[in-house]
């Protein structure tokens, strides 16, 4: 079943549900964790990768631990085959827990060591600028990654060089590896901080695909020399109520009963109810 961009914008829930189910299937198959992290950012990735990213644009998943969400999107776009997906996490796979470079056009860099995405994306944005190419670099980061000094180094470089084709997107679910962002190092991903250093900053509901899409569209028209920040308020584990806002679902894998419960809930919330609502 292929869904057009127009159909996604009209009713984003089916794609949101379908890719969530794909993510759960991958984690179930691998008996692996980072589920909450992937469910937290999948709607952002749908808006960027499926709707807004142009051919020449570059997308970098800086929070590489959410690789399953990237793989689900690239599979939807036809870049990763169903057959490749069956090898996820297995020996010899091109799809490890954190994205490996060199196998797919949509994965140009190794990511997952945190804080590397914004420097890379800033370089990509600058390369486009000096080639006078009208393209954008999107960097999807976790809120935890704003703890990293390199994030702030890159931010100041982007400001200094007026890279308004850099779109940083923060998946702000408020939970990092072993605690809430507030407990760990304070809110380094606050809109005030990013606004204060000079990024054109917009806050958005990170699960409202239409709103994210509109925000991206708007920011791309703002050729004002200011790099862009989208601070997306999200819920870790979004869509599976027993995972939502629960720190342990950063790392935990599902047992078979949990997998069943999760897929049932996603199917009901995103696919059945929403179809009835249309």
């Amino acid at each position: 079943m292929k869904i057009s961009k127009e159909e996604i914008l009209q009713n984003p829930h089916p794609i949101s549900g379908t890719l969530r189910l794909k993510i759960l299937e991958l984690y179930h198959q691998a008996h692996a964790g980072h589920i909450g992290c992937s469910l937290s950012c999948i709607d952002l990735m749908i808006a960027v990768l499926l709707l807004e990213k142009a051919e020449l644009d570059t997308f970098i998943l800086s929070k590489g631990h959410a690789a399953a969400s990237l793989y689900a999107c690239l599979n939807w776009l036809g870049e990763i085959t169903d057959e490749d997906l069956t090898t996820y996490y297995l020996d010899g796979t091109s799809l490890p827990a954190h994205p490996a470079p060199g196998q797919y056009k949509g994965i140009p860099f190794a990511t997952g060591s945190l804080g590397h995405g914004l420097p890379i994306g800033t370089g990509v944005a600058h390369a486009a600028r000096i080639s006078r190419e009208d393209s954008y670099a999107y960097v999807l980061m976790s809120d935890g990654e704003t703890n990293e000094g390199t994030t702030w180094e890159a931010a100041h470089y982007a400001l200094q060089h007026r890279l308004d084709n850099l779109l940083m997107i923060i998946d702000k679910n408020g939970l990092q590896g072993f605690g809430s962002t507030d407990q760990v190092l304070g809110d380094t991903a606050s809109a005030e901080k990013w606004r204060a250093i000079g990024f054109e900053t917009v806050e958005v509901d990170g699960h409202d695909i239409r709103a994210i899409s509109e925000t991206v569209k708007y920011l791309k028209t703002q050729k004002n020399g200011l790099p862009k920040a989208i601070i997306a308020q999200t819920t870790k584990g979004k869509g599976v109520s027993y995972m939502e806002n629960k720190l342990e679902w950063h790392y935990l894998p599902m047992n078979p009963a949990q997998y069943q419960a999760a897929t049932r809930e996603i199917t009901e919330r995103y696919l059945i109810e929403q179809l009835e609502n249309v």
Binding site: H116, P119, G149, A154
Partner: protein, 318 residues
């Protein structure tokens, strides 16, 4: 002993600057980045002639490496420059993930390597950089011996597709190689043919090795001297051919004896041709403040140390 003379002394970092100026004129894809050390890296001419192709990163080396990786998208060839200490140890994870593992065509160009940056002291005198860089899969590691060779190497690496670590330094040393040389990555350079001992040297220790060769000759010892300007990929063939003839080895480098050229050569010998080997290198220590000459003397990197090591190696053949 083949005669080597010089009329001029210069720093190898100036050779890098001269190479960059040529690249600025010849290769429009070459871009340069620096972490607030443009004067030290001798980039002034490149910047003056190509202001739109120079990117000031400020004192944020880790970001400079990530930026360089990103700049390769679309075909730019970034030359990321700073002191060797900050170009390697400080930013190792960035180089590992974003450049080496990601297979990006970034040239990491590092000045002020080793003890001989002098009075700044141990905080800035990195002696572990060759080891760190050569351990990264896919990374090419080059340590040229003088101004002319550094200039030639700088120009050559732009034509090579893949990550490179180019190491050079601050001290003013004799220029004894051909100004028009063609630099071939991975191809060792025969400085002097000999029969009693093989001296494999890298960087400005090649000049010390030549001085040592002359002293040894005066004592009736014939030293073969080979300039290993490329530590990775290592020219194993040249090493094995030489040691097959001489039967013993001295390695000479301005680096910790752990993890440098010496260990690379030792691996070849262990696997393919057992022979006694003596190290001329820093003996697992940090440096200290001093003039380059004082430090070379104190840390055992001078011609006389190579002479003594050669005699020990020859003795061990018996």
């Amino acid at each position: 002993m083949k005669k080597y003379t010089f009329t001029e002394k210069k720093d190898t970092r100036s050779g890098f600057g001269a190479g960059m100026q040529v690249l600025g004129q010849q290769n429009p894809n070459v871009v340069a980045l620096c972490a607030d050390l443009v004067g030290s890296l001798k980039l002034d001419a490149f910047i003056k002639e190509n202001p739109e192709r120079f990117f000031q990163c400020g004192i944020s080396e880790a970001n400079m490496i990530g930026l360089s990786a990103g700049l390769t998208i679309g075909g730019k060839i970034p030359f990321a420059t700073t002191f060797a200490n900050f170009a390697t140890g400080r930013v190792y994870d960035q180089i590992r993930q974003s450049v080496a593992y990601s297979g990006k065509n970034v040239k990491i160009c590092a000045s002020h390597a080793g003890l001989t940056l002098g009075e700044d002291g141990a905080t800035h005198q990195i002696l572990e950089d060759i080891g760190m860089m050569k351990m990264l899969p896919g990374m090419t590691v080059i340590n040229p011996c003088d101004y002319n060779q550094t200039k030639a190497a700088t120009i050559a690496i732009a034509d090579y597709e893949g990550p490179v670590y180019l190491r050079f330094g601050r001290p003013v040393i004799p220029i004894f190689t051909d100004p028009d040389q063609k630099f071939e990555i991975g191809k060792a350079w025969m400085v002097n043919e000999g029969t009693d001992v093989s001296i494999f040297a890298t960087g400005h220790l090649v000049w010390e090795a030549i001085q040592a060769g002359e002293q040894l000759e005066a004592e009736g010892i014939s030293a073969e001297i080979i300039n290993i300007h490329t530590i990775k990929p290592l020219d194993e063939e040249a090493i094995l051919k030489s040691v097959a003839k001489t039967g013993c080895v001295v390695t000479a480098e301005e680096h910790n004896r752990l993890g440098g050229l010496g260990d690379s050569v030792a691996q070849v010998l262990v696997k393919k041709h057992l022979a006694p080997q003596e190290y001329v290198a820093v003996d697992d220590s940090f440096g200290e403040s001093g003039t380059p000459a004082q430090l070379m003397e104190k840390y055992g990197l001078s011609a006389k140390d190579i002479v003594a090591a050669a005699k020990r190696a020859i003795e061990r053949k018996k």
